[in-house]
Every structure is written in C-alpha cells, then in structure tokens.
C-alpha cells in the first residue's frame, strides 16, 4: 500500500456526478486494502457529504464546484487510515446547526450527518477561508484506534 496515495476529484453540484465519485473512491479504497465493509462505509460517507453540499450548500443548484481530496494517513499517533476532505464554495452553515437529528423522530431527511458520524472515526466541519465549507472526515483501520487528542489538522 502506498502511504502517500491520493485521489483528487473536482465535480460540479450535479447529482448525476455522484455515481462516478462513488466508483472512484471505491476503487481507490480497494487498492488501499480496506475491507469490503469499510469500503462501503467510506463510499457512503463521501456520498452523503457530497449530497449535503448539493442540497444545502448550493440549494440543489447544479454547476457549482466541489473538490474532493482523499489521502492515506500513516500517523504514528493514531495508526493508519484515510482522510477525505470535501470543499465547497456555497453557503457557510452555522457550525452548531450541523448535527444529526433525533432518530426517534421518524421522518425523511436529516439523516446524512448521522450516517457520516456513524461510519467515520472523526468528522469536522469548518468555514473555509474565502467562503464555503470544508469537511474533514477521517477513518482509521479497525486494527488501530484514534487518540482522543488527535483531530483533523486546521486548514
């Protein structure tokens, strides 16, 4: 496995692009020797993040840029894993409003953030310099555990 392996994608806010991104990340994660279950989790998290950007950051309007950066992590503090950064140039949502909703309230919508937190080890939203949002998601391999102090680096 290459520890410096990266995958960089640029798409627009068109739901029709999601399937290609899922496929690209799926193939990348397989090469990085993640398990089938972990690959599925990683792909799902990325898809949910991008869907949220399209729906909320850009209000469903196509044609706006979204950048996806995926890289392998080889951090001695927390073990190996991967990091996915999703950068958009849409609305800056108040950070305290980004949270999974009460799952006992059965209704459509609002599940994406909950899913992301469920399948990834660390999730951090931030306002990107110059506008838009930056989401950093990390997942560590099942054989390693994250230090409580280890958090995604500041931009």
């Amino acid at each position: 496995m290459s520890e410096s392996a990266e995958l960089n994608l640029e798409i627009t806010s068109d739901p029709g692009e999601l399937a290609q991104v899922r496929e690209a990340i799926r193939k990348w994660a397989i090469v990085q020797q993640w398990s089938d279950t972990e690959v599925a989790d990683i792909v799902l998290a990325a898809d949910e993040a991008l869907s949220n950007v399209i729906r909320h950051g850009y209000d469903g309007e196509p044609g706006h840029p979204i950048e996806i950066h995926v890289r392998a992590l080889a951090d001695d503090r927390v073990g190996s894993g991967l990091e996915i950064v999703v950068r958009d140039y849409g609305k800056q949502v108040p950070l305290d409003q980004i949270c999974g909703r009460d799952l006992d309230d059965i209704r459509p919508g609002g599940l994406g953030v909950h899913i992301i937190h469920s399948v990834m080890s660390e999730v951090k939203y931030e306002h990107a310099p110059g506008g838009g949002m930056r989401l950093v998601m990390r997942k560590y391999r099942a054989s390693t555990s994250a230090s409580p102090d280890a958090r995604p680096e500041e931009p």
Partner: protein, 116 residues
C-alpha cells in the same frame, strides 16, 4: 426496466393482494426523485399492501431511505402497509445505521411478505 448499475430501474406489478415494486440499481440523490414520483403515484389507488423488492438494489443512501420513509408515512395515513424484501447486506446496514429497520416490516422475500 433499466438495470445499469448507476441507474435505477423501477417496475410495478399490481396483484389483487399487493402492489409489488421491484427496484434495480442504485438509489441516491439523483435517482430518488424518480422513485418518489413512482411510489406516490401508487398510493392514489390505495393498495392494501405495497411490497418493495430491493433484491437488485446495490446501493442506497439517506435520500433513498428518506424516500421510502416518506412513502410509508403516507401509506399509513391511507391505510396501506409497506413491506421491504430482499435487502442486501449493505442496504440493510443503512437502514440499521439510521435505526429505520425498526420502523419497517422487513421480509426475506415476496412470498414471506404476502403472509405478513
């Protein structure tokens, strides 16, 4: 019915005891509006039971799950029931992560769903 892995195929069969919706492909932000339209049209006939066969669905995200939740809520108001069958492991996992596996009746296959 299209069964391209990145598209969603939808077919509907109306039997006397149930309306069976068979999906094939992926349910995501792009394809869930199409699914929503199809499912809501079904409710106009007030079928007693809607069975959604997900055997050939390889991927579902929160928009897909939300679409099916919306159908069940509307179906309950009109006296219909919604039963899911044939969930692949990963599809079931998304329902479990969102705890919606408890909200739905999930059967192994269509025959079992008819008996629920």
């Amino acid at each position: 019915m299209s069964n391209s892995p990145h598209q969603l195929g939808v077919s509907v069969r109306r039997d006397p005891d149930a309306t069976i919706v068979t999906l094939a492909g992926e349910v995501d932000l792009r394809t869930s509006p199409q699914l929503r339209n199809t499912l809501h049209e079904l409710l106009e006939n007030r079928p007693p039971r809607i069975i959604i066969d997900l055997s050939d669905v390889s991927y579902v995200d929160s928009s897909g799950v939300g679409t099916i939740v919306e159908l069940k809520r509307r179906a309950m108001r009109s006296g219909s029931d919604v039963i899911l069958v044939g969930l692949q492991t990963r599809v079931r996992s998304v329902f479990e992560i969102t705890r919606l596996d408890k909200f739905f009746t999930i059967a192994k296959d269509i025959d079992e769903a008819r008996k629920v």
